[in-house]
Amino acid sequence: MVEVALACTELGVVYRKQGRSVPALSDVGFEIRRGEFVSVVGPSGCGKTTLLHVLAGLLPPTSGRAELFDDAPAPSMAASLVFQENSLFPWMTVVENAAFGLEMRGVDKAERERRAIHMLERFGLAGREHDYPRQLSSGMKQRVAVIRAFLGGAPVLLMDEPFAALDRQARMKAQQELMDLWESQQKTVVFVTHDVDEALLLSDRILVLSPSPGTVVSEYRVATERPRSPLCEPDEESLDLRRRIFAALHLAPGLPRYASTAS
C-alpha cells in the first residue's frame, strides 16, 4: 500500500480585504505520497504561496482540510517552508541558520553544529560556515535555506519558488543539489514554481493550478529516469509533456484551454 504523506480535501481559502472577500483557493484536492516530489505550477496570483502557507500551518483554511500524516513532535514542525527571499535570518551565521531547525527541536549546540557543518561541507559551502547571509551570493543563500529544511527533521518540505530569483548557473547548481539531497533523504517535497522546465526536471508529478481562485485543473506524471541533471537534453517524451503543460497553463495558442489529465 502506498503511504500518503499529505492530503488536501475540498480546500478553500478566502481572504478578507477591506471588507470584501477575495477567494484565493477553491476546492483544492490532491494526495501526495511519502517520499514523492511534487511540483505545483500555475499563473502568478493563483494562490500557490497561499497553498504552501496552509500546508505549513501558518494559515488556517477557510473550508475543507489540509492534513499531514506523520509523526513529527509538533504539528508546526511537520512541514518546513523554504521562502523565495528573506530565506535566512540575517543576524545568524550560515551554520546557525542551517542548524535552526535542529535548535528548535532541542538538539544541543555541539551536535547540531557538527551536523550542519557536515552538510554544508558536502554541498560546497565549506569555509563559509561563519559568514553572515549578506556575505553570500543569492544562490548560496537559497542552498543554505534548502539544507536547513533538510536538516530540520520535518518529513515534508514546502518550497516557495526558492530558485526563482537566481541566475541560470546558480539555479542549475541549486537544482542539482536539491535533487541530490532529496534522493539521499527520503523527504516529501511540495515545490511551487512558475517555471515548467524546473518542474519537469525535479518532479515525480506536476499539479497545474488554474488562475485565481486556484484549483487543481490537471496533473502529470514525469517518467524521466533518475538520477536527472539540469544539463541533460530533454527527450521526446518530456518535450511532449512540456507542450501539454504549457497548453494547460493556457500559454500555447490553438490548444484546448486545459488538457485532460494524463499519466
Binding site: 502557507h53 508546526s76 517552508l81 528573506n86 530565506s87 535570518f89 543576524w91 535552526f100 531547525g101 528548535m104
Partner: protein, 251 residues
C-alpha cells in the same frame, strides 16, 4: 587607522591652527577669542583644581540617570504599544503633541510637581529620552519582516523563542541607533536644564563663567560639552559594531 584619523581630523586641526595664528597676531581680540593654547592652559589648571572632574561627573550622573530611566520606560511603553493596536492608536496624538513640545518648557511644571531638586531635572531628561526610545523602538518592532516570524514559527519556535530569535535581533540595530540618539538627547537636555536651574554640572559652569565674564572658562566648558558628546557617540558606535556584527558597516 592613522589615515582614517587624519581624514577626519585635518579640518579641525586647520581651524585650530588658523585660530591660534589670528589670535597670536592680534587679528582677533584675545579678550573675546583667547588662543587655543591659552584655553589649553586654562583647561589644565581646571583639571588640576578638580573642578572639571567634579562638574563633568555631575553632568554625567544626571545624564546617565535620566537616560537609564528613560530607556527602560520608553522600551516598556513601546512593547505595550506593539501588543495593543487600540492603545497605539489612542496614544498617537498624545505622543505627537508631547514630541513636538520643546522639552525644556516642561521644566517649570515638573519642578512644580516634584520640587526644585535633582529628581525634577532627571525626570525631565528621562521624559525626553523615553519619548524618543518609545517612538524608535515601536517603529522597529513594527518593521520586523513577518517572513522571519513565519519562518521561526514554521520550525516550531515558541512565542518566547520568536521574541528571542527574531524580534530582538531584528530590532537590535535600530535599538542601538535609538540608544545613541537618546543618549545625545539626554546629554543636551541635562546641560540645558543645568543652564536653567542648577548649582553644578557643565551647564551651570557655562552659565557662571558667562556671568563672571570668565571667557576662557566659558570656552573650555563649551568645548567640554562638545567633546563629551563626541566621545559618547563614538562609544555607542563601537558597542553597536561589537553587538550587531551582521550589519553591513562599510557604508
Amino acid at each position: 587607522m592613522l589615515a582614517s584619523i587624519a581624514r577626519r581630523a585635518w579640518l579641525t586641526v586647520l581651524l585650530l591652527v588658523g585660530w591660534q595664528a589670528l589670535s597670536g597676531f592680534r587679528v582677533l581680540d584675545p579678550l573675546f577669542f583667547p588662543a587655543p593654547t591659552t584655553l589649553l592652559a586654562t583647561f589644565g589648571s581646571l583639571v588640576v583644581s578638580g573642578e572639571i572632574g567634579r562638574q563633568v561627573m555631575r553632568t554625567l550622573e544626571r545624564t546617565a540617570a535620566g537616560f537609564g530611566v528613560g530607556v527602560l520606560c520608553g522600551c516598556a511603553a513601546s512593547v505595550a504599544l506593539s501588543l495593543s493596536a487600540t492603545l497605539r492608536r489612542a496614544s498617537e496624538p498624545l505622543v505627537a503633541a508631547l514630541y513636538s513640545t520643546p522639552r525644556l518648557t516642561l521644566l517649570p511644571m515638573v519642578m512644580l510637581l516634584v520640587g526644585v531638586n535633582d529628581a525634577a531635572r532627571i525626570l525631565l531628561v528621562s521624559l525626553g529620552t523615553a519619548l524618543l526610545m518609545m517612538i524608535q523602538v515601536s517603529d522597529a518592532i513594527r518593521a520586523v519582516n513577518k517572513d522571519y516570524v513565519d519562518m521561526a514559527v514554521n520550525y516550531g519556535a515558541s512565542r518566547a523563542m520568536v521574541i528571542r530569535k527574531v524580534y530582538l535581533p531584528a530590532c537590535l540595530p535600530q535599538i542601538f541607533t535609538a540608544l545613541r540618539l537618546a543618549f545625545s538627547r539626554a546629554l543636551v537636555l541635562t546641560i540645558s536644564v543645568e543652564l536653567l536651574n542648577s548649582d553644578d554640572g557643565l551647564g551651570s559652569m557655562i552659565l557662571s563663567a558667562w556671568q563672571t565674564f570668565a571667557i576662557e572658562k566659558l570656552y573650555v566648558s563649551i568645548a567640554l560639552a562638545a567633546a563629551l558628546g563626541l566621545v559618547t557617540q563614538s562609544l555607542f558606535h563601537q558597542l553597536e559594531r561589537r553587538l550587531a556584527p551582521w550589519r553591513d558597516q562599510t557604508a
